[in-house]
Amino acid sequence: MIGVWDALMGLGDVLAQHVILAACAIGLGIAVALPLAVWASRSQAVSRGALGFASLVQTIPALALLALFFPILLSLRAVFGEGLPTLGFLPALLALSLYALLPILRNAVTAQTNLDPGVIEAANGVGMSFWQRLRLVEAPLAAPYVMAGIRTAAVWTIGAATLSTTIGQPSLGDPIFAGLQTQNWSLVLAGCIASAGLAIVADALLGTIEAGFRRRDRRLWLGGAIAVAVGVAAAFVSQVDWSRDDGRETIVIGTKQFSEQLILGRLVGEQLEDAGYDVEYREGLGSAVVAQAVANGSIDIYFDYTGTIWANQMKRTDNPGRDAMYEAIVKWEREVQGTRVLGKLGFENAYAFAMREDRARELGIASIEDLARAAPRLVAGGDPEWFERPEWFAVRDAYGLNFSNERNFSPTFMYNALRSGDADVIAAYTSDGRIAADNLVILEDPREALPSYDTLIILSPERANDERLIAALRPLLGSINVEAMREANFSVDRTDGDKKTPREAARWLAGEVGLE
């Protein structure tokens, strides 16, 4: 539990960002929902249309809604110009506002339809104008119901905001996702406690305002409103960069969701801090999102693998060999994306088939050719992407692989499945520390069906010719061997003994490969 406490203490910054994001999203949701509700109260068609739309939005999973705003904003660049952010705060704000819309709108519309018709007749009868009726009668009478809707929206939004981590907006999802990846349950628990705690506090304060409206107790609702305002203001103040004048440039490093990427991010980040830069991290981004983010300059640096770029971004299915592939990628990144491939870090993180050593020996399997013969009796496991990836189709067709069953696991559970016998063979990653730790064998690929996966450092177009930055990064090129990377990865992934955080592992790795 001490770990959880320490983790909680380190969440101040993401808590503030979470509060700002949720507050802005609820604010925007209110700003859209209330006028819409007033309009809906005057028109049946608007009422049906608005409520139908908001209900439809609600059925979209929050994670998907957040992800959808990336392509939407990308296409909107045609209208608003290239400066429109496609990652981070803006898409998170828009998605969460849409999510907040329904409860506020529904309560506001319900409150209006349930207003005593006699009161409305009286308002008209004494000669109120549209605005007087709204301000003096409808708004005060609907306020407690609207407030209850805002309360529901706040609890939903605070929960859903944890998912904005996946589109590059720091939030209380950061510790949750990082913890899930590295099996650091203290971190996951701390993120959950902070997020739930925030939701409970917000619910209580907004509930106080609601009760104040209901009892027409000005002190009560004003007190609640002030408490909310102070909390949100504190979050904003904490995010003001007081050290603006230190003259240090800020570099944003983006990483994907798994341990190796988190370690590399911290490794490079510390090198850059030593070189006099301020560093921000966007950790846990989706694979496609991070590549787009570097191309549009939302992040400055990220790490990718040749095979991934080849198949996912260039949509190539052939395999011209390691060097030709690298050259083609450098050219493609420069000409199509405007980004710069600075070079290779020195190790590969390729897909490869791995089996338990005892099981492989028992079945007499040493290569994928051997595997193909035994495949109809075996269960294969892969990460959620694997059986949809072109590499799988390539290797399957090259060897005629036909397993009795194909199962998806999250990367962590994939190795557990191998250990427990739920899978006989998995599509593992060659730099994964668990290969050595679990005593696994990598099957040979004599037909070279699986492409290479050299790890690359890629710079955004704005940084492509930044000589100072490049000079700081150059010592990293070719410096990391796969054995050191495996060990660093394992030190983060392991669940027992000497478990490290990505930052600690990065420091160890820097020492191991002589970067200090």
């Binding site: 006699g118 007749e121 009286a122 009868g125 004494v126 000669g127 104008s129 003096l136 009668v137 009478l141």
Partner: protein, 251 residues
Amino acid sequence: MAASLAFEGVTKRYDSTRALAGIDLAIEPGSFVALVGASGSGKSTLLKTINRLVEPTEGRVLLDGQDVAASDPTAMRRTTGYVFQRIGLFPHMSVAENIAIGPRLVGEKLGEDRIGELLSLVDLDPAMASRLPEELSGGQQQRVGVARALAGNPSLLLMDEPFGALDPVTRDALGTRVRDLHETLDLTTIMVTHDMAEALILADRVLVMDGGRIVADETPQALSRGKGGEVAQELVAVPRHQAEKLKGLEG
């Protein structure tokens, strides 16, 4: 100064039904007119064409010689008293705030004295000013409704089934009170009711409506003497019959 009213060919159609079928009518300043008829006869619709809660399909309504369609409806309603069955006190406002709402809409503040005076006019204790409507009985609430209607010093008082939801004792007392106020405040009063007895007792002119038309236009005296035609006499028969029964009980 009491208001004069005139209706010229006022017709109201809702899709296929005709709620008002060409009403022509003149109302003298200072008269107390009752509109009587069964549900759906058009009496409420006719009343609401005056303060434009209902807009006629054809024809026009003249208030002191001016076509109400040419007036600003909100401004005109603020100077016209309106009392209706559902009362419609604003539940989030105190009695005083409810009474002062009309003047407040035009930026005038109604003094404590004036509110107390208005409460006294409807036989309520001025100390009730700070109460909320939910703390009052139904009869007290409608008294506040009448006070609210009088707050803007109207020359015209419109009442749509004003006492319909009240118990008979309160109903009688408040009816008498309103009739007195009609005299002392020099009002023109139009009251919609389905209760012929109430109309006969309070009004000095009774209009009987049926199917969107005025089928009788008589004084209470003439109606009680059997004038006004079949529809009117059916309505008069009810209280007459009741009165005879009561007389019979007395022996």
